[in-house]
């Protein structure tokens, strides 16, 4: 994966498979600690302790199409390479939170990438799930709730190219305004 947003697109597939109806994607920048914590939190099936231990193993997966599952282990590797941390908190029947901390100034820290496009694609292809995207930077916080967004465009399809451009622009403009990390 070349960017953090691509990791998110990957990890989120786990949340979707876990039958989540609410998925939160959160970026918390802390310049003082030189840390950016990226969280993917869902209200899906959750995992018991044993499963949480196994989840990061690249040779473990619950899917049936093949025998490896790289998403979590790759994310953990990238976070740790920057001198950050990685943890999974999960409770069966309640949900899972995957938290990856990246050292912002580390030379090994990947760029965030096109997160606006990723958020749009997720909201478009899984409109039955409620998505909440939040980015907390030094200069402010930006939050987008798919429920509210869909309400404001009611009557027009989300896939319409002008709506698509507008939603992506909306996210980008707001992230620029709070000087979100790139």
């Amino acid at each position: 994966m070349k960017t953090i947003s691509e990791h998110i697109l990957d990890i989120v597939q786990n949340s979707i498979r876990a039958n989540s109806t609410l998925i939160e994607i959160i970026f918390e920048e802390n310049k003082l600690n030189d840390l950016c914590i990226v969280t993917v939190k869902d209200n899906g099936d959750g995992m018991d302790e044993e499963l949480v231990q196994l989840a990061v193993d690249p040779f473990f997966t619950t899917r049936t199409t093949r025998k490896t599952g790289l998403g979590l282990s790759l994310l953990q590797q990238h976070a740790k390479q920057t001198g950050g941390f990685f943890e999974i908190q999960s409770k069966q029947g309640e949900g899972t939170a995957v938290r990856a901390g990246f050292r912002i100034s580390s030379i090994d820290r990947q760029p965030v990438g096109d997160i606006a496009e990723v958020i749009y694609l997720l909201m478009l292809s899984h409109a039955e799930i409620r998505w909440i995207f939040r980015h907390q930077a030094e200069k402010g916080i930006f939050e987008l709730d798919s429920e509210e967004m869909l309400k404001s465009i009611e009557g027009v399809p989300l896939k319409h190219h002008r709506i698509r451009d507008a939603v992506i622009e909306l996210i980008r403009n707001n992230l620029d305004e709070i000087e979100a990390m790139k």
Binding site: M1, E6, L9, D10, Q13, R17, R63, T65, R66, G69, L70, G71, L74, E117, V118, L121, L124, S125, H126, E148, M149, S152, I153, E154, G155, V156, K159, H160, H161, R162, I163, R164, A166, V167, E169, L170, N173, N174, E177
Partner: protein, 131 residues
């Protein structure tokens, strides 16, 4: 055009767009639409599946083809990523491998629009003489 920053801006744009939309005869019933599923697992994303999905979303909309583009998990063909499954109403789903923008364009123009087979299909099921 003013910068779009708030949901209120988005709503204003929506009103503008709504007045311009042609009413389509087809209902939004999923079985009647072409379904495009792009493999978006680790292998897919690393091979550029996001670009492929973006292309399908933009091009199908631009050509006003009634379709639903979604992501799916790993289909098991990691060596051939990006992979895309196309389900045309009334036909069996077909999986294509190595779908970059060029291939995607070919798939849309040849297979989806005209029903012509395109190179690069990954066989999902086959019948032998004994079946």
């Amino acid at each position: 055009m003013n910068k779009i920053k708030s949901l209120a801006d988005l709503q204003k744009l929506k009103e503008e767009v709504r007045s311009q939309i042609r009413l389509r005869e087809n209902s939004e019933n999923p079985e009647q639409l072409v379904q495009v599923k792009v493999g978006m697992a680790t292998c897919g994303i690393a091979s550029g599946a996001r670009d492929t999905m973006k292309f399908f979303v933009e091009e199908l909309e631009r050509q006003a083809i009634d379709a639903v583009v979604t992501q799916t998990g790993c289909m098991g063909f990691c060596y051939a990523e990006p992979t895309v499954e196309i389900k045309i109403p009334g036909k069996e789903p077909v999986v294509f491998g190595f779908v970059n923008r060029q291939k995607a364009e070919e798939i849309i123009n040849q297979y989806i629009k005209k029903g012509k087979m395109v190179d690069g299909i990954i066989p999902l099921s086959f019948k032998t003489i004994d079946d």
